[in-house]
Subunit: 319 residues, 2 copies
């Protein structure tokens, strides 16, 4: 336990004060936050479990720390929120626990710096089992402007950012024995997409600020599952154009590959020019990949002139 | 993964809408909260790991769910905050995972009902290791009125609520083979204090509303450790009167027993009458157990006329 107190003290020294949003950071029974007038607070949590979501022989503690924060930042991106603060709960194996936690926090703090996020709390424990990281992020978005999943309407376009399938392709490369440190070029890029995804925070913010999106979700379960979530919550169907997918690998990887952390969003057709302009401005590919129409269980994919049901394959990490 | 979606759908059906505080609950990329004007937001997280913090053959999933929420509510109590919302991340063993999660949420929802807390999010995963529960609670407290650990001043009294040592005593009973379902009377009470502690939320709120406390902490690590935290953060020493401890078992259990979830707080001496009145009103024993004085490393315990250093023994759960 004294080890735990020391670890908290060390994290506390490293946590940089960011903004007036944090009235009281690490070191008390709870963190105290001062919400900005006119803004709602967004909160999300993501659990990463060793041998389910990651393998320590395929990644590094630093990349894992990056990913733990990145996946929660991606939730903020999907809401159009400004990330402000984060908390981490770590269950670490007794052996090498301090060094592991320190390197994990190296990755966390490096990404937190880039997004001006303050680490304000968390908890730690020893575990007899696999390493477990729970990442909690708090953000803010203008009242009533958050990008919900339920806003897609008949006639809206479906868009996706970046390329999809690269994370799944990277995972396949790792499974085939390729390692990040040895990989080059597009292989290295794919492995990095899997091990250290880049959350689309600036895109989410721009979509809110310019009022361009009617709904959004991040592609964490896989496009086929996440587009269905939009349809279920919005009560509308969709036709995805398989030939339009900005894909890295196969169509299957693009449709079913999870942990991509790109944004899928809907927009009125007349927003199309502004969205293309935004893509150029942010240097993020934004591609129209479908159209919302019909009833919510009509989630279809069009390929070679034929429409067929798009089954949510989901994303079972090490299947 | 489809199992995970179904589980989320079930939790969503069971999550009751509580207040205007929650603009958007379960089922999106993040929960959206509407902070109350004039209030700060408190957030805390507590990690419970099987075989470190609990054993499933000593408790039930329902009591464990209660405890997971209770320990985070206790952090809100220690800040003087009104608990509003909660999120849970669960890593469950594959075998029996749905039934386990359902019973765990039975315990969570029963306690959440009593404190008008809404479950607004969380995450779930399968794990090849022990059951892990991360409990995150969000609360609100009037701006600048939160009970920090750093407010204790020279001359303040040290108070503690309830009795200390009962949780440690209950744990000792469990270790000796006694079980909750068979125990009676004070033994049952002690085991219940360990397995399903009662967070002191009403006390924390009253201390803030009446301006009675200068600092507070919950006794989660053990009185000897937690009083030291108050001293370290406040920059003042303390003399604890061992004979005054409202103890259930031995003095050691009272001083070093963790997971008690009573509040230890400091108050000006002239608040004494109002604190005794509050104790009667809430039917919670409140006992003056010491006085703050001297330098912050003078954390002393007085016993039989002799003062000796009070060593933080901390709380190593199954030591």
């Amino acid at each position: 336990v004294s080890g735990e107190f020391e670890r908290i003290a060390e994290i506390r020294r490293r946590a940089v004060r960011r903004s007036a949003f944090v009235a009281l950071g690490l070191g008390d029974d709870a963190a105290v936050l001062r919400p900005t007038d006119g803004y709602a607070t967004c909160i999300s949590t993501d659990l990463l479990v060793e041998s389910v979501h990651f393998r320590l022989d395929w990644t590094t503690p630093e990349l894992l720390g990056h990913k733990a924060l990145a996946v929660s930042l991606s939730d903020m991106a999907a809401m159009g929120a400004i990330p402000r603060a984060a908390l981490f709960s770590l269950a670490t194996p007794r052996e090498g626990s301090d060094a592991l936690a320190r390197r994990l926090y190296d990755g966390i703090f490096a990404l937190a710096d880039r997004f001006q996020v303050e680490v304000v709390g968390g908890d730690t424990s020893i575990t007899p089992g696999p390493l477990v990281v729970d990442s909690i992020v708090v953000g803010e978005v203008e009242h009533g402007r958050e990008l919900r999943r339920s806003g897609s309407r008949d006639g809206d376009d479906l868009w996706v950012s970046g390329v999809v399938g690269s994370s799944a392709h990277g995972l396949a490369l790792l499974a085939s024995g390729r390692r990040y440190e040895d990989a080059e070029g597009s292989e290295r890029e794919a492995i990095r997409a899997h091990l250290a995804p880049e959350p689309r925070v600036s895109l989410g913010r721009a979509l809110v600020e310019r009022g361009l999106a009617t709904a959004a979700i991040d592609v964490s379960d896989g496009l086929s599952s996440d587009v269905r979530h939009l349809c279920d919550e919005s009560g509308v169907g969709v036709v995805v154009d398989a030939t339009a997918l900005p894909s890295f690998g196969t169509v299957d990887e693009a449709l079913d590959g999870g942990e991509q952390y790109e944004l899928a969003f809907s927009a009125r057709p007349d927003a199309s020019d502004a969205i293309h302009a935004l893509a150029r401005e942010l240097s993020i590919p934004l591609t129209r990949i479908g159209r919302f129409e019909g009833a919510s269980d009509d989630v279809l994919v069009e390929f070679g002139g034929t429409r067929s049901p798009l089954h949510p394959r989901g994303w079972d990490h090490f299947r």
